[in-house]
């Protein structure tokens, strides 16, 4: 029964472009666009949750890594005409490198100072994107980023891009599961739950924090690359602190440290505001009320509501 449910959901998600074409043919492009955004945001939020949810460090630097990746890909794809796969890898590597370099001094800071330090990094990255005009073209944006080509296949249509984004999300989700369960996950959680005791268990907290931080940055960089290839333009506004706020909302309201919670959060808080545009005047009100409801009713996020719902169903 449960298995069938998951299968059906998977089928719907995989065939979404056709369903959309059949159900809302006139708004097909718009709906697909929202779905692509949702998939990319879900992947980005999962990468963010590796740090926030699993090693318990409140990093606010994610836009910086997303931006480093996005600009790396944009510059390599337009200037040097690098092939798609190569520039995505370079984007991930570049972001990981920045994370590894700033991570060592940042993780020496105590909790709150760490959050402020990472916020500083995000702000600096944003200032650099705006002002290093020779490289980033500043507010003029980098334009004309080519559509990706994968194994000789040009990904030009929206459905094709949707499947690419979905594959990226699936890849990130698999990695997320691999990293956060079993032995590695246990070490991450030990560091998160009780750092002194983790030390007594022979775990080097800095090593595991840095590992999660760097992997998360690499994923954010790679997703940034996919993002700019999709939009074909990269502007400094894409990597402001607003992105951090978005990610915080998705992760904390969805369910910190939970694969299902983060994905549900990404779907709700990326797709929902778009859908609610149908009632533009009420949109912000509804959005606000929903936020409030979740925070009041279920501070652990929507995930805990889902958990309780499934628990009571199997009990009853």
């Amino acid at each position: 029964m449960r298995r069938a449910g998951w299968l059906a959901l998977g089928l719907v998600v995989a065939t979404a472009p056709w369903i959309v074409a059949a159900v809302v043919p006139r708004q097909q492009r718009y709906v697909l666009h929202v779905l692509i955004f949702t998939a990319l945001f879900a992947a980005l939020a999962l990468s963010y949750d590796l740090v926030v949810g699993h090693v318990g460090s409140l990093s606010l630097a994610h836009p910086a890594f997303f931006g480093v990746g996005a600009y790396t890909a944009a510059i390599l794809a337009t200037g040097a005409r690098w092939p798609f796969v190569a520039d995505v890898l370079a984007a991930a590597l570049g972001a990981a490198l920045v994370a590894a370099l700033v991570g060592v001094p940042l993780f020496r800071l105590a909790e709150h100072a760490f959050a402020v330090g990472t916020l500083g990094l995000a702000l600096v990255a944003s200032v650099v994107a705006n002002n290093w005009v020779e490289v980033t073209r500043g507010p003029l944006c980098i334009t004309g980023i080519p559509k990706p080509t994968l194994a000789g296949l040009a990904i030009t249509t929206l459905p094709a891009y949707y499947w690419l984004a979905l594959a990226a999300l699936a890849g990130v989700a698999l990695l997320y599961r691999g990293l956060t369960t079993f032995r590695l996950g246990r070490a991450f959680h030990a560091v998160r739950d009780n750092e002194p005791l983790a030390g007594a268990a022979a775990i080097n907290p800095l090593k595991y924090r840095l590992l999660a931080f760097t992997i998360a940055a690499a994923l954010a960089g790679g997703i940034g690359a996919l993002y700019v290839h999709y939009l074909s333009v990269m502007c400094p506004e894409e990597m402001t602190v607003a992105l951090t706020v978005n990610l915080l909302v998705i992760v904390f309201l969805g369910g910190v440290g939970s694969l299902r919670g983060v994905i549900v959060g990404a779907v709700l808080f990326t797709a929902l505001p778009e859908v609610l545009r149908l009632a533009p005047t009420w949109r912000l009100v509804i959005y606000g009320i929903l936020l409030l409801l979740v925070v009041v009713r279920s501070p652990e996020g929507i995930e805990s509501l889902l958990r309780r719902a499934t628990a009571s169903r199997s009990a009853g």
Binding site: L175, F182, L184, R186, D193, P196, A198, G199, A200, L211
Partner: protein, 251 residues
């Protein structure tokens, strides 16, 4: 050569010398207790030895190797396990996982192997689970294996923390007040556990306020007062030592 040798250890906090030139040697297989009034520097000494606070002077040798001010995770890896006075567990991990955390770092594994969960790693994991279940059984927590450690009672958490230190089969155990704030039945249980470890040939250094326990099980007692070692010897001698009586009860 003593298993643990502390030479002239000094730790100063602002205005106070918490540990003042303490020398202490623990032989392999010994059961030694460290006693002294509150604030005499026992826990600080533990923290210096296990890398939780940096000493201001002196040396710590373990198996003849200089361990002075090594980070705590390295100290643990070399075979020194410790408990904490304020009972310390991983509250969101299950009781079973709490134990597993303590073993895995001692088993060589590569990041890629962990991600791919190689067959060798799966076997290590299965062995680890078996060992963890055995220890839960030993301390009477087998029925709570899957409960979050944070949901256990104080006494159960204390037993879990104690079992954790045994996971990696350490040579030396530093136990910080294992019998504090628990009921008489459990005090007795703890005593039996510590004696069992001693019989197995483990080396135990114990900080404890419960004199009955200390006098009952220790082979040797070291007394600290104001950070200084004021006496050392077998229980009968310590019981009669004038300086010890004075330190505890005043003149």
């Amino acid at each position: 050569m003593a298993l643990l040798e502390i030479r002239g250890l000094i730790k100063r906090f602002i205005g106070v010398t918490a540990v003042d030139r303490v020398d202490l040697a623990v032989e392999r297989g010994e059961l030694v207790s460290l006693i002294g009034p509150n604030g005499s520097g026992k826990t600080t000494l533990f923290n210096c030895v296990t890398g939780y606070v940096a000493a201001d002077g002196g040396q710590v040798l373990f198996r003849g190797r200089d361990l002075t001010n090594a980070p705590c995770h390295r100290v643990a890896r070399l075979g020194i396990a410790r408990t904490f006075q304020q009972v310390s567990v991983f509250p969101r991990l299950s009781a079973l996982d709490n134990l597993l955390v303590f073993l895995q770092q001692h088993q060589e594994e590569r990041l890629l192997a962990r991600l791919l969960r190689t067959r060798r790693l799966r076997r290590l994991e299965a062995d680890a689970i078996e060992r963890a279940r055995g220890l839960l059984e030993l301390v009477g927590l087998a029925h709570r294996a899957d409960a979050a450690a944070g949901a256990l009672s104080y006494g159960q958490r204390k037993l879990l923390a104690f079992a954790s230190t045994l996971m990696s089969d350490p040579e030396l155990l530093l136990l910080d007040e294992p019998a504090a704030a628990v009921n008489p039945t459990m005090i007795n249980q703890m005593k039996q556990h510590i004696l069992a470890l001693h019989r197995q040939g483990k080396t135990v250094l114990l900080v404890e306020h419960n004199m009955e326990v200390v006098m009952d099980i220790s082979q040797r007692i070291v007394v600290l007062d104001h950070g200084q070692k004021i006496a050392e010897g077998p229980p009968e001698a310590i019981r009669r030592d004038a300086r010890v009586v004075e330190a505890y009860f005043g003149r």
